[in-house]
Structures are given as structure tokens and as C-alpha cells.
Subunit: 238 residues, 2 copies
Amino acid sequence: MNLILLHQEDFIGSRRVRLQGRRCNHAREVLNASNGRILQVGLLDGKTGSGTIVSVNEQSIDLDVLLEEEPPNPLPLTMILALPRPKVFKRVLQGLTAMGVKRIILLNSWRVDKSYWQSPALEPPAIREQLILGLEQSRDTILPSVERQPRFKPFVEDTLPTIAAGTCALVAHPLAGRPCPADITLPVTLAIGPEGGFTAYEIEKMTAAGLTPIHLGQRPLRVETAVPALIGRLLSPT
Amino acid sequence: MNLILLHQEDFIGSRRVRLQGRRCNHAREVLNASNGRILQVGLLDGKTGSGTIVSVNEQSIDLDVLLEEEPPNPLPLTMILALPRPKVFKRVLQGLTAMGVKRIILLNSWRVDKSYWQSPALEPPAIREQLILGLEQSRDTILPSVERQPRFKPFVEDTLPTIAAGTCALVAHPLAGRPCPADITLPVTLAIGPEGGFTAYEIEKMTAAGLTPIHLGQRPLRVETAVPALIGRLLSPT
């Protein structure tokens, strides 16, 4: 937790905030909360700044906050992710959020196990928990959107061409295409398949929608490795 | 498991291999082992190829193997990693192996919790387990070396300059240096700090040893995200 995320309902005065529960415990146990100490804070979907501790007790911590800075720049990348298995999904979602991705589309694919779509990890509160953890890690405040597209064909035929238009639109595929380029200056649309990859039919449909197949070498990588490797490569640090 | 790793002691004839235990179960349960089916195999620290199933029973599977292909190219990168907490360490070790890193140096640092050095995850059999999983993932056969350097100063003063010499030698540091370059043509030496980063003193010592501080943007990332992002960026796919 490199930043304490505040919600509108935490405010008990125009600049006064009361933390309880998880954030209060973290401030006390990890950040050694005591009066006068300054913590990094940010308002969910708003600005970031500092919070000076003005009181500490067993149940809560009060802060005097000043929110004047912009959150870090979003990453100009739309991520289209074949739904991974739930445990991996949580970590990948948190990592994507920490890297600054603001639009995440969960896509079905032939090799996505149907049961994954019923996982509790896909419930909105479970998704939100991972997004919050990612924002806290990277000192960001802007929640990404997470969309479900459980039907491959209509999404790829009807929606994907519009998303891909005007962007550098790529689909990662270990067995085809050219090496992944680096430092793209356009916004990026990036699709990553399930363990085992997209099928030839799926790659054909995505190519027809405007995506170019690219690879990261001959080694099949796990999605949690491939995602940051591709993003780190495609976009230069800001 | 995209490749079944064979050991010399699996051979019961010049080309005949008997699988038992974990690999046998995987072949039966995930790969639907049956006579005549061809599996991807590789000999640990040797060549890769195919294994044709010639018999299947409850306890074992016999293969007729042909090993004529070279494993994928190693990644020309030496990874110097401030020892992460054990759970993260396991995943990072597996990911580094899958990406093709062949030399991994675990380094102490001010912000590395001393207890991490006593973790069972650092026992040689536990390390080997993660390396094998990484090789199986990326169809590789060549085990990386994993060294421990629990004393920062003597390593950085006496050993690091020799490792860095003739390479593009970098230390990732969120708060200093220039943006991480892409597509390095030299071999790379890459140091990554603990959660919270290297201290100013440590960065100074590493700079004196020949490393250049670089960053991936203003967002602090978890080590499991930063490692593949930096590697994916620094080296072009082969």
C-alpha cells in the first residue's frame, strides 16, 4: 500500500478524513501511525496528495488531507484478455491496474474453461478489491473499467474493429506473426489468449478485425509473465 | 507442462524412457496418454524432441524418444534480485526460468527482511522445483544457476564489477535515472531491488560497480510485475 485510497464517505470535514478497518490497521501496523506523521493519500477517481495524522485511537485514525496533485498518467492501452483461471485472473488484474491500464476486456475463447465465468473472482466486489490493491500499489486513483465479453464471435465481429481503429492493434500468439515491436507511439490495443493460445480460427477472426499477430519469442509464457512483458515492451515509461 | 523433462535415470533403454509419479499422472490426466500419442519431451540439460507412447499402465508410461533439437536460446541476461518474500520468490524464479534467464543472483539489501534468508523456499530442492516448472512451461531443458549473495557490500564491491563489465548493466530504481531503454544488443546485467527499493547508499554502490539507474515510469510496481516488464523491454524476442 504505497498510497491510502480515500472515498467520499471517509470525509468528516472539508479536509478531515477518518480511516477505519483495513486502512487504519495498515497505517498503524505498517506505517507506524502517530500524530504529525504524513501519509500519501489519494481520493478514489480524484487527486492525490498528503494526509497528516491528527489523531490515532484503537478504532480509527483522523487525517488532515491536502489533495492537489494529479494521479500518474494512464497507460494508453486497451487490454483484451482471454479469461484466465481465477487465481491467475486476480493477480493479472492487480498487475494491469498497477501498470496503469484503464480498460480491461475479459473475452471468452475456445480454450477458456467455461467454469471460469462462474468464478466468485468475477463478482464486482471481488474485481473491485483487486483493482483497489493495484491502485494502492502504484499510487493511482483512477479505477479501470472491466468488461465481460463471454461471446467471442459477436464481440470480435461487431465491437473489436471499433476498438482497434486508430490504434496499434496486436494479438499475442506464440506460433505466428512477427516479433513484438517496442515503444509504440500510438495507443495500443493488445489481445492475449488463454493458456494454450487462441485457436487458428480465433486468430483469423481477430486479424479480420484489424489485429496483427505478434510474438515474444518461441517460449510459451504464462499469462502473468506475458502480460507485463508485452506491456513493458510496447510502451515507453512515463 | 508444455514439455516433459526427462532425467538420465528415466532411461530403461537407449531410446526407451519410463515415466512415473507427477509426469506420468500429468500425461495421463491432462494429455490423455494412450499408445501412439506423441508428447514433447526434453532431456534435462540436453536436447528436446518427441516421445511416442508405447505403453500405459497404472504406475507408469513408457515412451520411445527421439531427442534431436536444441532447446530455445538462453536470454543473454544476468538477473540480480534483492531476495523477495518467499511466496513471491517462487513465482519470480519460475517466471525468470520460463523467460530463459540462466544466471540468477539473490542479493541481500537493507530492505530485505532477514527472515527471508531462512525460508524453506531457498532450500535447493525447493528452488529446483520452481526451475523445473519454469523449464516445463517454456519447453526448455537448461537449468539456470541460482546463487545467494547474503552480504551486499562484498558482492557489489568485489564481484559485481566483473559481472557488469562488457554488458549493458542496469539497476531499476523508481526514483532516479533515465527511462529504461529497449532492445539492447549487448548482454544485459539487471538488478532489481526489494519492495521499497534499494537505499540511496546501495544505488551509489551499484553505480560505482558500473550499473546505470533506470526506471519504468513513476509507478512503483511489485517485483513480479517489474521483472517481466523490464526483461520484455530490454531484450528483443528470439
